[in-house]
């Protein structure tokens, strides 16, 4: 057993982020809490962020790109606001839905959003413009059912 001679290497086993710009689970959790406390966009009625980062993976050694915690917060928000727009549209509150859709579209044009959500086909723009310009919720409904 060469544990003594590999003491330095063994210490890295417990900290696999050493020497990289990736971050640990604990760092992502801190980043997430900061992002939810300072979230830059409107929150749909009744929506609150999950109290802890909803990490997909439970490997203790998982590592994450910087801003992963922000991405988790943004992902929750997009799902919530899309659902809120659809709910408003289906309950005949079309103008309210359109107003949220306009704010959402505005948000997608910010660097904060576009650096995390890569949407080269402009799926988001398409379903939001359908709501804003035509009061058509079918594309949004399809999107939500596909990504559920």
């Amino acid at each position: 057993m060469s544990g003594l001679t590999h003491g330095c290497i063994l210490s890295e086993r417990h900290n696999p982020v050493v020497g990289t710009n990736l971050q640990s689970v604990a760092a992502v959790e801190r980043e997430y809490l900061d992002a939810t406390a300072n979230f830059p966009f409107f929150l749909p009625p009744g929506f609150t962020f999950a109290p802890r980062a909803p990490l997909e993976d439970h490997e203790p050694n998982a590592i994450y790109e910087p801003r992963y915690g922000v991405s988790l917060a943004l992902s929750q928000w997009t799902t919530a606001v899309e659902q809120a727009i659809l709910t408003a549209g289906e309950s005949a509150r079309t103008e309210y839905a359109r107003d949220m859709a306009r704010q959402y579209l505005e948000a997608t044009r910010t660097r904060f959003f576009s650096e995390i959500v890569l949407d080269r086909d402009d799926i988001t723009g398409d379903f939001l413009r359908a709501v804003i310009e035509r009061g058509d919720f079918s594309e949004l409904r399809d999107w939500l059912s596909a990504s559920a």
Partner: protein, 129 residues
């Protein structure tokens, strides 16, 4: 062809005698129905790396990992759920990329114990086509 640039983040990997820690990429990709599949390829000169393994997970699910591909270094791999006429297919939705390197450390002709950090700059690109 739609390019989905994963960013220019160099991959610094820790090589051990098993898989490296799974690594998550921050970006979320929204993929339209009809984007037929994603091709991933990666290259490295790192002698210890034998494979790179990538996966897609749905970003709205907390647990679902939808598809993985293992790529021998320098080669190409393909993501896809179902195959129609030999073409992988990915439904409309939003996805995150995740990945890990798989390698074996050999020191003085023997398998090494523990992690060893190497600086590895590989190209990681993936493209919907």
């Amino acid at each position: 062809m739609v390019s989905l640039d994963s960013g220019s983040l160099p991959l610094h990997v820790l090589v051990n005698d098993g898989p490296n820690p799974i690594r998550y990429y921050t970006t979320i990709h929204r993929i339209r129905q009809g984007s037929p599949s994603i091709k991933a390829w990666a290259t490295t000169n790192a002698q210890f790396i034998t494979h790179l393994r990538f996966g897609l997970c749905t970003s709205t699910s907390t647990t679902q990992i939808t598809n993985t591909v293992q790529i021998p270094k320098g080669n190409t791999g393909y993501f896809g759920f179902s195959h129609s006429n030999g073409t992988p297919y990915i439904p409309q939705g939003q996805y995150r990329l995740l990945g890990r390197a798989v390698g074996t450390v050999i020191v003085n002709g023997e398998g090494a114990y523990g992690y060893r950090e190497i600086s590895w700059k590989g190209d990681l690109k993936y493209t919907a086509y």
